[in-house]
Amino acid sequence: MEYTDVVMENFTCPKHVGEIEGANGIGQVGSPACGDIMKIFLKINDDGVIEDASFKTFGCGAAVASSSMATDMIIGKTIEEAGKFKNSDVVDALGGLPAEKIHCSVLAAEAIQAAIEDYQKKKA
């Protein structure tokens, strides 16, 4: 399997690892049986802007890199903008993923949506 340099960079030095204190939107997707679990933490302000994002991931190199890239990309976006965020955005930003690893990027997009839903549920 071949990873791009961007994937390797995001795996070896991932951005936004860990839990944000005071996160008001948390989403977790994946299953240990499939070999990847992704948990995304969002801090969303009253204007609906994602001020900060972080992740914790159990998974392969592509899963870690997808989490790192996805969180980095949605910081500063409104939840409406982040709601349109697609897995292909992560794949493009990473310079591509091997075919059998595309599901890692899907997982990252789903975890972000789950975290936004969690925020909206709490708010409502």
């Binding site: 679990i37 690893k101 789950a114």
Partner: protein, 401 residues
């Protein structure tokens, strides 16, 4: 950067003496062994030297050694060849759940052709039960195929005892000894095996050459049809250079068996001790004693195997994992599942297999760095002792589809 290669169960570097042995057979001794003139006859004679070297390494008669293109071909031939030749007697085969895919997929193929296969379970260490085997034998059982030593967890099966049980019932017994040769003594007379598969590249020989031992008189069909090579049992012009290399590699492996095994075992135990004492939440897969001298296989809780392999590769260490992410499928290793590990734990496996040239310094470097790698990946993981894996099961499984 210096590379530390710890994947000798996958393949081994070709020994320089072996390379030297094989090279003339590409150039000056290029003849086809089937030709009647001098060039052919000279090579044919040389092949018999290699055949004798292989035979000696497993205590067989040279006329019982048949060269193949790989260990997988030897497994395919043994199983399909016995099944086809003996199907009038019965269509039942016994194997185990932890075989190499060359055996498992061949058995699955035969099931589609109307054969019945019993897959014996293994215990937590990867050992089969002799009682299970006795109970599985039926009147129509024609073949028992059980691996000598497992390629992933290194567990060594009780081959001699299995051989006794099977022989008493008059059933044919095949063992895949690809991982065993060069690591533990392999003696076909002592072990009561009828067929035994071996491979060149696991014993410091080249890839693309294997052999099947077929005990004299065992009724078997051919797998590869065509010419009269290998005493009319395996068609195809002989891979002369690699046969010569395989013979030399087998000779070296058996001459140095005790020394090599002692060296690997010492380093293996150092590695296992270093990992078990310095890293929390880790388990050793396979049997504590009945295991290959070079095999160490661990499961680290809360993390995934491919991320361990990538981290090791970056600092110069080559290892392997039973994680689904390294296999291209969604399922983790069938062997780790067979010894009872939950899928989530099986994904976090790391196999390191030591070779003849591995050093104490290599092992110390690996242990020191592994401590840090596991710690870093665990800090990144959403699952831990407070949030265990069973609670972390998820909501949407759609991401794979």
């Amino acid at each position: 950067m210096k590379r530390i290669y710890l994947d000798h169960a996958a393949t081994t570097p070709v020994d320089p003496t072996v390379v030297e042995t094989m090279l003339p057979f590409f150039t000056e001794n290029f003849g086809n062994p089937s030709s009647v003139y001098t060039e052919g006859r000279t090579v044919k004679k040389s092949l018999e030297v290699a055949r004798l070297q292989i035979a000696k390494a497993i205590n067989a008669d040279p006329r019982e050694i048949y060269f193949t293109g790989s260990g997988s071909e030897a497994d395919n031939w043994a199983i399909k060849g016995i099944a086809m030749k003996n199907q009038a007697k019965g269509k039942h085969i016994i194997t185990t759940t932890i075989e190499h895919h060359a055996v498992l997929h061949t058995c699955e193929y035969l099931e589609k052709q109307g054969f019945e296969v019993t897959y014996l379970p293994v215990d937590e260490f990867g050992l089969i039960s002799l009682d299970d085997l006795k109970n599985a034998i039926r009147k129509d059982t024609i073949l028992v195929t059980i691996m000598f030593a497992n390629n992933e967890i290194g567990t060594i099966e009780p081959i001699k005892e299995i051989g006794e049980i099977v022989k008493e019932k008059g059933i044919i017994f095949h063992t895949d000894a690809v991982q065993a040769l060069g690591n533990v003594p392999v003696d076909v007379k002592d072990l009561n095996v009828d067929l035994l598969s071996i491979s060149g590249h696991k014993i410091y020989g080249p890839k693309g050459i294997g052999a099947l031992f077929i005990r004299k008189g065992v009724p078997i069909d051919n797998l590869i049809h065509g010419g009269a090579q290998e005493r009319k049992k395996r068609a195809g012009t002989e891979n002369t250079a690699e046969i010569m290399a395989f013979g030399k590699a087998a000779e070296l492996a058996s001459e140095n068996l005790e020394k090599n095994a002692a060296h690997m075992k010492e380093l293996r135990d150092l590695l296992i001790k270093g990992v078990m004492e310095n890293i929390p939440q880790v388990r050793l897969n396979g049997h504590p004693e009945k295991r290959l001298p070079g095999n160490a296989n661990f499961c680290f809780d809360y993390i995934e195997g491919e991320s361990i392999l990538l981290s090791l590769d970056i600092i110069g260490i080559a290892g392997s994992s039973g994680s689904a992410c390294t296999s291209g499928s969604l399922d983790p290793s069938h062997v780790l599942l067979a010894i009872g590990l939950p899928a989530g734990v099986a994904h976090g496996s790391l196999r390191l297999t030591i070779g003849n040239h591995t050093t104490v310094e290599d092992i110390n470097y690996v242990v020191e760095n592994l401590i840090q790698i596991i710690d870093r990946l665990r800090k990144m993981s959403p699952i831990n002792a407070e949030c265990p894996i069973d609670d972390a099961v998820f909501e949407k499984a759609s991401h794979h589809h």
